[in-house]
Structures are given as C-alpha cells and as structure tokens.
C-alpha cells in the first residue's frame, strides 16, 4: 500500500549508507512461506487442541488426519473410488468444453440473440444445479454414470460459455477493422484475430469450468449417488472413522488444486501474451 519505501525516515534526512543486514534473517522474514507455515502451525495447533479436548466422534485431531491420509493413499479401494468419480469428471468436463466453447463463440458472433441468451445465462450462473439431482436420478437411474456426467456438464458449461463469449467480445474492434482493411474475410478474422484474442478468456473459462466440474462430481455423490469419493465420505462418516473422513476431504482438495494448476500451466503455455485474466474469479 505504501508507495514510499520503508527507508523513508532514514535517508530522507540526507545521505548515509545503510548498515549491512543479516541476509538470512531478511530472507526468512521476507519469504512468504514463513508466514504460510506459521499460519498452518497455528491452525494445526488449535485444531489439535480443540479435537483432543472436545473429543467429538467425528472430529479427528490434526495428527489423526495425517495418519488417515497415509492409510488412504495405500488403500486400493480408495484409488478405485477416485477413479469411479473421475470418470464422470473427465467425460462431463470434456463435453462441457466441447459444447460450451462453440456455444460461447456463437453467442458472441450472433449479437442479435444476445438479448435472448442473456437472461438464461444469468439464471444458469446463480442456480444451485444440485437441486436438479433428483430429476437426473429419475431420468437416468440411481447408479448411472449418465446422471453424474449430466450434472458435471450442467455445472461446468455456464462458466465456459460466458467466458468464451466475453473473450470474443473484448477483442479490440480496431484489430478487426485493421484485418478487414487488409482484405480478410470472416473465417480468417476468426482464425487470426478473434480466436487468438479470445484465447486467454477461453482458458479462464476452461479453468473455472474444471473447478465447477470437480464440484459437480463430488456433490452428486455426496447428496444422492453414494459412489466414488462421495461414497467414501458418507461411508466413513457413517462409521465414525473421523481420520479417514477428513483424510478423504483433504485428498479431494488436493486433487482439485492439482487439476486447476495443470490447467493454469497449460494456460501459460497456450496464451502467454496476457498476464491478467480477463475475468475475476
């Protein structure tokens, strides 16, 4: 926040050489990880204290959770559960991207239908899609992959559409004018100007869509179809195996972070010419 460096009061009164500093101490105090680990230690400590004194059946200690994670990682049943869940994730996410991006581009291209499409997109973005789960189960059956895939698609597609559309819309109209003046036709304008220009926003949409797809994957399993990861959570919860329960939660969070980081890395490779994402998550 301060635009004046911290040496303000000292050197403002003129000259003077700053005394040599203890490099390691400065490095530690300046490093972000120091503070992050500090927070982790504080929270972990508080958690440990609370869990051991409150002795709630479903609240493991911090160390109990770590142990739980260790047990889970080596258990093949856990890997199977993750695999089952991720099936719906990848199929659903793939469909959401394959459909969502063209839909978003079309929405940007055909401005006339914008008035028609806008209210629906706004509604889609705020609707808790999880409420549709009972309907999906009636349609596809309780144990079906189709219901889970459908929900993942329905979770992820609105953000993909909206970001793709926004990406095309924010391309500098002067660039389009310039290309037209050099004789480019519609197809070339799309290939050379609009798509590359919209790419960062499209990738943002893909990244956000993945986050929402993971959410969809987990939600339907938690709320209705007790398979995969959701099944594990409900199972451990029912059996009061607290450490394993929390362990699964941590693993899910880690998976979500890993997947999103992967997409970010792809984003940087594919669209390195923008540093700022167009839309704030």
């Amino acid at each position: 926040m301060s635009s004046v460096p911290s040496s303000h009061s000292r050197s403002l009164t003129g000259g003077g050489i700053r005394p040599p500093s203890f490099a390691l101490r400065d490095h530690v105090l300046g490093s972000a990880w120091t503070y992050r680990l500090l927070v982790l230690a504080l929270v972990g400590g508080a958690w440990e204290f609370y869990a051991s004194t409150a002795k709630l059946l479903l609240v493991p200690t911090f160390t109990g959770t770590i142990r739980g994670i260790g047990q889970l990682i080596v258990d093949p049943k856990v890997w199977t559960a993750f695999l089952i869940s991720n099936q719906s994730l990848f199929v659903g996410f793939g469909i959401a991207v394959a459909l969502g991006i063209p839909l978003g581009l079309a929405a940007a291209r055909y401005r006339r239908i914008e008035g028609f499409v806008d209210p629906y997109l706004s509604i889609l973005l705020v609707t808790p899609m999880a409420a549709l789960i009972p309907i999906l189960i009636m349609a596809f059956g309780v144990t079906s992959l189709a219901a889970r895939v459908f929900l993942v698609v329905v979770f992820a597609i609105p953000v993909v559409i909206v970001n793709s559309r926004a990406g095309v819309r924010q391309v500098d109209p002067e660039l389009i004018e310039m290309a037209t003046s050099y004789g480019a036709r519609e197809r070339e304008i799309w290939r050379k100007i609009l798509l590359p220009g919209a790419l960062p926003a499209i990738m943002t949409g893909v990244r956000l869509g993945l986050g929402r797809a993971v959410t969809g994957m987990v939600i339907i399993e938690l709320l209705m179809i007790a398979v995969g990861i959701g099944g594990l959570i409900l199972n451990f919860q029912g059996k009061f195996q607290a450490g394993l329960l929390y362990g699964v939660i941590v693993l899910v969070v880690i998976e979500a972070l890993l997947l999103v980081s992967l997409v970010r890395a792809i984003e940087h490779r594919v669209a390195p010419w923008t540093s700022q994402t167009v839309l704030r998550e």
Binding site: S3, V4, P5, S7, H8, S9, R10, S11, L12, T13, G14, G15
Partner: protein
C-alpha cells in the same frame, strides 16, 4: 527559498531490471516568488526530482532545504498538482477542492467557504456539486489547481499539469495559470517537456540532462511580466523564438548524442571492411 545540493538517487534493481541512476549531483536554487520551469527529455528524472522536493520520495545523497529547513516529508507549505489530476472521483468538486483543508481538520463551513473562493478563481462557479467524471480534462485540472491553492502553500509543485490535455485546452490553461500566478505570486516549480511552455511561463528554465539527470543549464527568460494579457504577442516575438530554438538545440544535442554513442558501440562490432 528552495536549495538543492548534490542530490542523487538510484532506484535499486528490481526483478530482472538493472538498478537505475535516476539523478546524479543535482544542484538548484529557487528564489521566493520565482516561476521556475524544468525542461528535459523523457525519463530524465524530473518527476523524481519533484517528488523529492514534495517529500514523497527519499534520496540517497545530498540535501534539499526549504526555507533553511531540510525536507523530511510532505508539508503544508508545498502543494502538488498532478498530471493525471488525481481527483477523488466519488466526491463533488467542492469536496475535492476542500480536500486538503479537510485533511487538516478545518471545519466544514470554513473549508467550503475557502473552496468556493478558489472555485471562483479558476472559473468553475456553478460546478460545485458536479462529480469529476462529469467534467472535461481541462476543468478537472482547474479543480486540481484550486485544491492546491486552497491550502495556501508557499510553493506550488506542478508535474506536467497540462500534459494530458489537448493543445487548445493547454493554451487556455497556460494563460489562466499566468493570470492566477500573477495575482498570487507563489513560488512555482513547473515540469514540462515543451520548450514553448517552459519559456512562456517561466522566469528561468532549468535544463535537465538525460538519465542520470543533472541540471546542465539555467536559462534566464528576460521576457517582460505580466504576460497573461499579451501571450500572443510574446509567442510571436523574436526573443521567444530565440529562446525556444536555443533550448531545442540543446535538448536535441543531448538526445542525438546518446543515439550516436549507442550506434558507435554497435558499429564497432562489425567486421572491418
């Protein structure tokens, strides 16, 4: 009176950028009531110098004395006028002009009274309850000037205040500034990159070299005062043409010299014919 001796400032290396020597051995004295313009090529450190005089930026070597006392931070005797206007977009013109007084704890009635005076001085009566977003650039800068004058500073520090405006607005505001200054006679340090502006407004023109910046020349402007009423005549005069041409010659030499020395380094790496 402002006395600057041996001023130097280096910006430390940041990321992949090398450290930058912004100013080196700057020496300057500004008399009370003088209108000094500082002229120099882009990046020569003139804005850095102004910020230091304002007390917003520390320096590495040398000293700055205002009325015999060293500068340790911003103070009520110095007021800044910004190139980007820096108006509070959510506040009315009246509140904007009164801002400096508000920060000092002046009661509402008194500061609005004073603000109204200055709004009148810069010719914006009737716009008190507008928002900056509703005003043109020229009008916004007038608000900035009014705000600076409202705190009754001894020294006005102006950082290319007309740089963001179109030429016609700029000319109008130059005339208005001359009028206001001739009525109030503050000490003014005015940064510009325009030779015409420097000569038209200033009693002296301080010429700064490219980075690392130094004051390489102090050109007196013997044009008669007051000037506000006779701007056209002044701009048409031979004296004016001579002064601006001389300044441009010096500026061009400074910058061409840099280009030639860069080229020379380049050429010497080519194989001999």
């Amino acid at each position: 009176m402002i006395e600057i001796t041996g001023l130097a400032k280096t910006f430390p290396a940041r990321g992949s950028n090398a450290p930058v020597d912004a100013l080196k051995d700057v020496n300057l004295t500004v008399q009370d009531g003088e209108f000094l313009t500082i002229l120099g090529p882009s990046g020569c450190g003139k804005t850095t110098l102004l910020r230091m005089i304002a007390g917003l930026l520390p320096w590495d070597d040398g000293e700055i004395l205002v009325n015999g006392r060293p500068v340790t931070g911003p103070g009520p005797e110095r007021a800044l006028v910004f190139q980007s206007f820096a108006l509070l977009p959510w506040a009315t013109i009246l509140d904007n002009v009164a801002f400096g007084l508000e920060l000092r704890g002046v009661v509402k009635a008194k500061r609005y009274e004073r603000a109204a005076e200055l709004i009148d001085l810069v010719g914006l009566t009737g716009f008190e309850s507008r928002l900056p977003g509703q005003l043109s650039g020229g009008m916004q800068q007038r608000v900035g000037l009014a705000r600076a004058l409202a705190v009754d500073p001894k020294i006005l520090l102006m950082d290319e205040p007309f740089g963001a405006l179109d030429e016609q607005t700029r000319r109008l505001l130059q005339e208005e500034l001359l009028q206001i200054w001739e009525a109030t006679r503050k000490t003014v340090i005015f940064i510009t990159h325009s030779m015409e502006e420097a000569v038209l407004l200033g009693d002296r023109v301080a010429l700064m070299s490219p980075r690392p910046g130094r004051i390489v020349d102090l050109v007196a402007v013997p044009l008669p005062r007051p000037r506000a009423a006779t701007v056209d005549a002044i701009e048409g005069s031979a004296e004016f043409a001579k002064l601006t041409a001389g300044l441009w010659r010096q500026l061009r030499e400074m910058q061409l010299f840099r280009r030639h020395s860069a080229q020379g380094r380049h050429r010497s790496s080519e194989p001999a014919a």
